[in-house]
């Protein structure tokens, strides 16, 4: 049997199992799973403008997930992803509020700054790991808090709105600093191009370059990396820099694409959500593409639950968490493979 076909079958079966668990959980809450999903699908894909809103959420989640694939490859738990998104947004806001803010090049300069800010923030984590032997989970978590602190300081301090100091955010950016869109429904072309490039590039890098393969070999076995003539430390640093840069882009997308200003919760928790996505998809780019879209649809569609069904949208969190947990459990149990084997044997 073709190996890829088998993997596809296994994953489809797993998806089926996982969805049934979610249906079961929703029924336990006394809601109709069909109605919930109908409302989510309508809310996220029901119209062109809703679809665009989903894209705007999908962009940062995709970017954060791709970022995490790099650190994940190197065996690193990049909990600092939230901070890296936030710092990317700070970098973008810096440009949007500068003299460049009302020029057409603003978004492009913002991209460079977001990459730089996020990258440096990620690099701090890597340096602490490599030079200071600080576990990346602790430094990452710490740097997340520091980044949140910086944002709040900026919003109520130097970047406060005229006359009022409130945590509701900075002034709205000048229109030329928004991510360029097309048409009346504001299709975010630049953003979509960015994501597609990132997906394609990462696919090639991870599969067809020496860098990608070495990254995969990093993190577990330091002496063995020396034997193959590369340095584990360098690759850990690089993975954090790359992840930080891409996460910074997600911050840019949030600041200049979604909110058009800097707000305290600029990351939207998308960094942590992406950790869950990458846990499910491991290093698979196709799955990351699909699962991150599914999660974005859940988020956008979930906001309709309150209006349509009178349900709290925290239900979405429950769906996401159930999805991830059941998926991981099924993955460990390897039920699908045995099922497929039984099925094909009985056919013979």
């Amino acid at each position: 049997m073709n190996k890829n076909f088998e993997i596809l079958q296994i994953n489809l079966l797993r998806l089926l199992f996982t969805l049934s668990i979610i249906f079961l959980v929703l029924s336990l809450f006394g809601t109709s799973p069909i109605k919930v999903f109908d409302s989510i699908i309508y809310g996220s894909l029901g119209s062109y403008s809703k679809f665009i809103r989903t894209l705007i959420v999908w962009a940062p989640i995709s970017m954060a997930s791709i970022a995490l694939i790099y650190t994940f490859s190197a065996g690193m738990w990049n909990i600092g992803i939230e901070g890296q998104i936030i710092m990317g947004a700070v970098g973008a806001t810096l440009i949007a509020r500068s003299f460049l803010g009302d020029t057409f090049i603003s978004p492009y300069v913002q991209i460079i700054f977001a990459i730089g800010f996020g990258g440096v923030w990620g690099l701090i984590c890597g340096l602490l790991k490599v030079k200071g032997n600080v576990h990346e989970i602790f430094s990452g978590l710490g740097l997340d808090f520091v980044a949140s602190g910086i944002v709040i300081y900026l919003i109520i301090g130097p970047w406060k709105r005229e006359g009022i100091a409130s945590t509701s955010g900075t002034d709205i950016f000048n229109k030329s600093s928004w991510i360029p869109t097309i048409g009346q429904n504001e299709f975010p072309l630049l953003l979509i191009i960015l994501i597609l490039i990132l997906y394609a590039l990462s696919f090639v890098v991870l599969k067809y370059t020496s860098f990608g393969l070495r990254l995969k070999a990093t993190g577990v076995n330091e002496l063995a990396t020396q034997r193959f003539y590369f340095s584990s430390s360098t690759f850990i640093l690089l993975s954090f820099f790359i992840a930080g840069s891409i996460a910074g882009l997600a911050g840019f997308s949030q600041a200049s694409g979604a909110y058009h200003k800097l707000v305290p919760s600029i990351s939207g928790g998308f960094g942590f959500l992406s950790i869950l996505i990458v846990l499910i998809c491991s290093r698979n780019i196709y799955f990351t593409f699909l699962v991150s879209f599914f999660f974005s649809a859940l988020i956008v569609g979930g906001s309709q639950l309150q209006i349509k069904l009178g349900l709290d949208h925290s239900l979405i969190g429950i769906i996401q968490a159930t999805f991830v947990l059941s998926w991981l459990i099924f993955e460990k149990l390897k039920l699908e493979k045995s099922l497929l084997e039984i099925f094909f044997r009985s056919k013979k």
Binding site: K207, Y208, R214, A217, V220, A224, Q226, R227, Y229
Partner: protein, 478 residues
């Protein structure tokens, strides 16, 4: 105290680890000697109750000991001091005592407990702060504390399983003093070692094991020739033709003074022709593997390889193959094909998987590796992992650094691997390997470096040496 070991046998599959072993010890320090695989560790494990023998009995003070139960062994006063300290690194010295204590609630009588421990420390002249974290102590100090802990818990018979492998000379003499004073109190000590010098210095009697059997009993005064003769008798060796060193290019091994005990036995002009096979001999626990690694990582000592041209050797010239294949040599979760990818990764930025597949299938058949491309390394057998590591040797002229290249392999695989290694002789600058098997060293090397403990005792061409000489050197006898 008196221990009688009667007729103990133990087999693992086809391997007779112990067969009909009988030893009786009434007092003093008794040595247990033998080559690797002679059955020393198995016997130690049976005495300490970690494994049960197939037959036989052990009598403690004429009473039969229930075998195969560590608890019974401890209750009958048997204490085991392992090769590495088995303590809790993150506890303080005092806490390690409290953890293993028989008292149900040691905190109730903390002062009394403290007092009795400090009395013991004083008695055996150990000056270690109670509150020091165990991690901060040297291995030697930790072993001392472990020894005291065994005494504190009532051990009357102490088995030491090669306890001194990580000791400095000073620590060793301290430990030996303690051991001697223990025997004066009627405590029996069984000392497992293959360092002849230590045994000659310390022990009163001994038993030599070979292939699981008792072949000889010895008593003070010892005759070192006789012991060595018994330990290594019947180990036949193949005679190989000496290589013709007509090659004009030379490399040089500069040995740091800190690595030498004495320079009188060392072939000082350490200039060797290209294509030499150099064996670093040493017993288990000696630094022979570390010297191999040091040529690659330069982190043990100043001992280096230099080329005649005096250029620095680039890292890519070395091919280092560690002894633990999966822990340090290969990537357990990467596939066989990905390893060939990594091998090519140092040559170009992009990977052409089609080309890598061609190379991989060629290497897999050439080196007789029984595996598919998609097999993860952790799924391969030891021999296949070893052949995979060998197949990743660079094509260009290299210096091969091989740590115990045939460790844990059966005879056939080992021979097979040696053929592969020696086929590179005409191409490479040097093939340097370590082994604890004197026969392997003798059979394949042209130049032999003998290491005992941390130190290099001798460097010389094989033609100037005899096997007995090497055995003396690795046992620490100059």
């Amino acid at each position: 105290m008196k221990i009688e070991i009667n007729n103990i046998s133990k087999t693992f599959g086809d391997l007779k680890a112990n067969s009909e072993i009988s030893i009786s010890i009434n007092n003093g320090i008794h040595a247990l000697l033998g080559e690797n695989g002679a059955g020393k560790s198995t016997l130690v494990k049976i005495i300490s109750g970690q494994i049960a023998p197939d037959q036989g009995e052990i009598l403690i003070n004429d009473k039969s000991l229930q075998l195969g139960s560590p608890k019974q062994s401890i209750e009958n006063g048997i204490g085991l001091l392992n090769q590495d300290p088995q303590d809790f690194g993150n506890l303080s010295v005092l806490e390690t005592f409290l953890v293993g204590i028989k008292d149900k609630n040691p905190y109730r009588n903390l002062n009394k407990t403290k007092q009795s421990i400090s009395d013991l420390f004083e008695k055996y002249k150990i000056k270690i702060n109670f509150l020091e974290r165990t991690n901060n102590l040297s291995i030697g100090e930790r072993q001392q504390i472990e020894l005291i802990r065994l005494l504190y818990n009532g051990a009357k018979l102490i088995v030491l399983d090669e306890p001194t492998s990580a000791f400095s000379l000073e620590q060793k003499s301290m430990m030996f003093n303690t051991l001697r004073s223990l025997t004066n109190e009627g405590i029996i000590i069984i000392f497992v070692s293959h360092k002849l010098d230590e045994i000659m210095e310390l022990c009163d009697s001994g038993t030599i094991l070979k292939l699981g059997k008792v072949i000889h009993s010895i008593n003070k005064p010892f005759n070192s020739k006789e012991i060595i003769g018994k330990m290594f008798e019947n180990t036949v060796s193949l005679v190989k033709k000496d290589q013709d060193f007509s090659n004009s290019k030379f490399f040089n091994i500069s040995i740091s003074k800190n690595d030498l005990i004495s320079i009188k036995n060392t072939y000082l002009e350490n200039k060797f022709p290209y294509g030499s096979v150099i064996g670093i001999a040493g017993l288990q626990g000696s630094s022979n593997d570390l010297y191999i690694k040091n040529f690659f990582t330069n982190n043990l000592s100043e001992t280096r390889i230099n080329l005649d041209s005096n250029k620095n050797i680039s890292k890519n010239t070395f091919y280092y193959m560690p002894a633990d294949r999966v822990e340090r040599g290969l990537f357990r979760d990467l596939t066989v094909l990905e390893h060939y990818g990594l091998y090519k990764a140092s040559e170009s930025k992009t990977l052409n998987w089609e080309k890598i597949k061609t190379i991989a299938s060629k290497k897999i058949s050439e080196f007789n590796i029984k595996a598919n491309f998609s097999n993860k390394v952790s799924e391969l057998s030891g021999g296949n992992q070893q052949r995979l590591m060998l197949s990743l040797m660079p094509e260009a002229q290299s210096i091969l650094l091989l740590e115990q290249p045939t460790r844990g392999l059966d005879l056939n695989s080992a021979q097979n691997i040696w053929e592969m290694i020696l086929s590179r002789k005409s191409k490479d600058i040097a093939i340097i390997f370590s082994s604890t098997d004197i026969d392997e060293i003798w059979d394949y090397s042209e130049i032999i470096i003998s290491v005992s403990g941390r130190f290099i005792l001798n460097v010389d061409y094989k033609k100037h040496l005899t096997k007995d000489k090497i055995i003396n050197y690795v046992s620490g006898i100059v």
